[in-house]
């Protein structure tokens, strides 16, 4: 039953992604001009002028003189063969560019996610169960501060504190001597030393909002009659809260997983730039600014696919977690 459901959902993804590819392509074409216009403007800044002939020449080479639908079909045809095209700006295959950065991006995002849940979950449960206790007020206050502080500001403050008071090397994920070195234990250790800062910066606001969500969900559940039933069975307070209301309160929690995956890529671009993290976010921003269409297109497509996959994952989890959710 579950397998059939998953299969059905995956089949549905095919027409959906096709539609997304059209929208993605149109979206990239939407701003006036193309990569060449941007390129020429850039050259103009350094007082270089291209004559009309070489512009036409370049345009033909990039295939930008063809009609829109031809460009689209060429792009899709190549996509199906796993070829994402060349980045105009980097003069490198798009897939190479993205994969270079994806590894670190995924690692950073998952560490952030784990950090967020590890912190938010127990605090959320605590502040619901001990509503209006001092601990709850402290968690709530910190939560609101965390929600209200922009990530990049927090990043700047923490970098300042790190450099001035602890003299540590902040920014980036590696110290200079390891940046281009092959992987080793020492490099890994260096990575860990750099990783905590972006994790805390990126995770704070998510942690704060998750605490609020968990608290609100659980407060709704704590007064339900089935909690009383469990208590009347002789279950200890800790287990009865964990087994019944927390379990039910997890449902809305799980539904949000779908948004986490696309956030891996596009989330916290500003923070990544401030902390000069070698993740995918800044690359995507740059591609969009430069109208580097194949690179940008690949990113938009990647984001959409990740959203769809994320939603599927959260739906599967929801079905496993809550028997009331039907497969249909």
């Amino acid at each position: 039953m579950l397998l059939r459901y998953i299969l059905k959902r995956i089949l549905w993804m095919v027409p959906f992604l096709f539609a997304v590819s059209i929208v993605a392509f149109l979206l990239i074409q939407a701003p006036p001009g193309d990569y060449l216009t941007t390129y020429i403007a850039k050259l103009g800044e350094s007082n270089e002028v291209l004559d009309q002939a070489s512009i036409e020449n370049l345009r033909a080479r990039f295939g930008l003189d063809r009609p829109l639908y031809v460009q689209y079909f060429k792009w899709v045809a190549n996509l199906l063969q796993g070829d994402f095209g060349m980045s105009f700006e980097w003069r490198q295959p798009v897939s190479d560019l993205i994969w270079q950065r994806m590894g670190l991006t995924v690692m950073l995002s998952f560490s952030t996610l784990l950090f967020t849940w590890a912190v938010a979950f127990p605090i959320g449960v605590y502040s619901a169960v001990r509503k209006y206790s001092i601990g709850d007020y402290v968690a709530t206050t910190l939560g609101f501060i965390g929600l209200a502080t922009p990530n990049f500001l927090l990043a700047l403050i923490m970098m300042y504190v790190g450099v001035v008071y602890f003299g540590s090397d902040v920014g980036g994920l590696f110290s200079n001597e390891y940046k281009n070195a092959p992987w080793s234990l020492a490099k890994f250790w260096d990575l860990l030393k750099h990783l905590w800062l972006p994790i805390v910066v990126l995770g704070t606001s998510a942690t704060a909002s998750l605490i609020r969500i968990m608290r609100a969900n659980l407060l709704d559940e704590l007064n339900k009659p089935y909690v009383d039933t469990a208590r009347a069975k002789g279950l200890s307070e800790f287990w009865l809260i964990m087994k019944y209301p927390v379990r039910v309160a997890l449902n809305p929690f799980v539904s949000t997983i779908g948004w986490v995956l696309p956030n891996l890529v596009s989330g916290a671009v500003v923070t990544a730039i401030v902390l000069s993290l070698p993740t995918a976010g800044p690359l995507m921003l740059q591609a969009l600014l430069a109208q580097d269409m194949y690179l940008a297109g690949a990113f938009v497509l990647l984001l959409s696919s990740l959203t769809v996959v994320g939603m599927l994952l959260s739906d599967i989890l929801l079905v496993l977690l809550d028997p009331r959710v039907k497969y249909e």
């Binding site: 039933t229 469990a230 208590r231 009331r324």
Partner: protein, 569 residues
């Protein structure tokens, strides 16, 4: 020398509540909700605790298991538990989170609650919840516990217990859920079972079955039952002892026949009187004139709810909520529609008010077909056809004053404004028996009965000719129930109102209605004069329904043969 292990005297009460005081610690200080409550529970006996809402019945029950709901605290008195073969335990002295009380909860004292849907976990199987209860108190492996759970389900007469253990609560009907609750509470064979309004949320026919089941299980297991209810009929059916509570005091205790035949306290008499009055038609009832014209003619009314599924949205399931209903209503007449939950009685009312759009049939309201009427025509008819809903708490906007609530239909229809409006509202409030000086207050300042009066005032504000009342008294205590019914009767006599009165409660219908239609699965199986149908029902379903209604007279217990109606497929 006394024996090393003391045998409990079996005649000693298994639970003794002595002078119990419970207070709620609120901002204004300590508010006592129980004032020196004392009574006993005996082995093999059923003690009914009766009282209206707010009398402290549920708090007492929870205090026995030392789980007073916050912000409640026990601030006086004791509860003693005399388990078989052990020394007396003072339950109120135990730590409410400690091991000792947890061993007793579920193990030696079981408890079941009112709402069988929300009292079971929605995300765990019935079986796993029973297995948990067993393994908390018995050192048995999982497999054995599951076998015990199947046995427990079989004992409460759930069909196919082997399959039912792996089902979820939402896959069961209300009655089956309550059976599962009972199975869970009794899985460890407790000496005491506390049942907090276990049948209030159920239909009468299901209630009768659950009461039978509890009585049989008591004979089998010999436990003491503390049965909390507000329904005197249920008390008469199952009680051995009766404890009457009012506002946190025990006002009367005694043997069931003594309490029913010679009630001592005025409150007990008031409760019984309210029930007795509902056993016959109201004396104040004004019958419609014999030649009164028909105000409403319903013909072949139909509304099927379709469940659509899948990509093509094909219809996978059809619920025939209203399946070809026809009846007439005369001017000044009250027609009752009675039936179990799911019989379609509410849907009929809503179709006539055009809250729902019926799919077929006609509703002829004085020459106007309400089914095919357009928006403009409906606007006019809606001034004359008003509705009253069941829950007076939910049907009043908490952010509007009483004046705003009652004035709204008058303003919307441009009937009154300014000083004229104030006078009109004041007059309406007086008419429903409320002080016009209270019109600036918000609904939360009123009790359930008063709120229902406000709802009635709003309904009659436009001087309607037909009122559709959907379970208007179900959420009210018995004593208030008759007051609201009497108010409706008075208004009917004064204004010549016609009523469609939807209820599951035969007694209320008998009190209020001239004629009654019995609904079963979307169809009217029987319709006629109320007295005639109650005294001489023709259709087997009507007979089954009437046989399930508890009679508020313990002397008649067991004199009736109960039967369940099973429709031919």
């Amino acid at each position: 020398m006394p024996p090393t292990r003391m045998r409990t005297d079996m005649s000693k009460p298994v639970i003794s509540i002595k002078n119990l005081n419970v207070g709620f610690n609120i901002r204004q200080g300590m508010l006592d909700v129980l004032h020196g409550v004392s009574f006993d529970l005996h082995r093999g006996k059923t003690t009914c605790v009766v009282g209206e809402s707010g009398s402290g019945k549920s708090v007492t029950a929870r205090t026995i298991l030392n789980m007073v709901p916050p912000p409640g605290v026990i601030n006086g008195g004791r509860i003693l538990f005399n388990p078989e073969g052990q020394e007396t335990i003072e339950l109120t002295a135990l730590n409410s989170r400690g091991k000792a009380i947890r061993a007793i909860r579920g193990g030696r004292i079981g408890m079941i609650f009112q709402e069988p849907m929300s009292s079971l976990s929605p995300v765990h199987t019935i079986g796993s919840q029973i297995v948990e209860a067993i393994r908390l108190h018995r050192d048995v492996p999982k497999k054995e516990a599951k076998a015990m759970a199947v046995d427990a389900l079989r004992q409460v007469e759930i069909p196919n217990p082997e399959k039912a253990v792996d089902r979820y609560a939402f896959e069961f009907s209300g009655g089956m859920r309550q059976r599962a609750m009972i199975a869970m509470a009794l899985a460890c064979r407790p000496e005491v079972l506390i049942a907090d309004e276990p049948t209030t949320a159920l239909d009468v026919t299901t209630q009768a079955e659950i009461l039978d089941l509890m009585r049989n299980l008591q004979v089998e297991m010999g436990m003491a039952i503390m049965f909390i209810t507000h329904d005197m009929g249920v008390v008469a059916e199952i009680a051995d002892e009766v404890v009457v509570m009012e506002k946190g005091h025990v006002v009367e205790t005694g043997d069931v026949s003594q309490v029913f035949n010679a009630p001592e306290h005025p409150y007990t008499r008031k409760l019984l009187g309210a029930v007795k009055r509902l056993e016959e038609p109201a004396t104040a009832k004004v019958r419609p004139a014999a030649d009164a014209p028909e105000i409403l003619k319903v013909r072949d009314l139909q509304l099927h709810f379709e469940k659509r599924e899948g990509f093509m949205q094909r219809v996978t399931d059809v619920t025939k909520a209203v399946d070809g209903i026809s009846f007439d209503l005369r001017k000044g007449e009250a027609l009752g529609i009675v039936g179990e939950s799911g019989s379609g009685k509410t849907t009929v009312g809503r179709c006539i008010a055009r809250v729902y759009d019926p799919q077929a049939g006609t509703v002829d309201y004085e020459g106007l077909d309400l089914v095919s009427a357009g928006t403009d025509q409906l606007r006019k008819s809606r001034r004359q056809i008003r509705m009253i809903f069941q829950d007076p708490f939910a049907s009043l906007n908490p952010r509007m004053t009483v004046k705003q609530i009652i004035a709204e239909p008058l303003i919307v229809n441009g009937i009154a404004s300014g000083k004229d409006l104030d006078e009109r509202v004041a007059q309406l409030l007086t008419e429903v028996g409320l002080d016009p000086g209270m019109m600036e207050r918000y609904p939360h300042a009123f009790s359930g009965g008063q709120r229902q009066r406000i709802v009635v005032a709003r309904a009659i504000a436009l001087e309607p000719r037909l009122v559709i009342a959907d379970e208007p008294t179900s959420a009210l205590d018995v004593s208030i129930r008759t007051q609201v019914l009497d108010l409706l009767l008075k208004l009917q006599a004064e204004m010549g109102l016609s009523f469609i009165f939807i209820s599951h409660d035969m007694a209320v219908i008998r009190y209020f209605c001239d004629r009654v239609a019995v609904m079963y699965r979307g169809q009217i199986v029987e319709i006629g004069e109320t007295e005639q149908i109650i005294t001489d029902p023709q259709h087997p379903y009507t007979k089954a329904l009437l046989s399930s209604v508890p009679i508020a007279d313990p002397a008649l217990r067991g004199t009736r043969q109960r039967h369940r109606y099973v429709a031919e497929a």
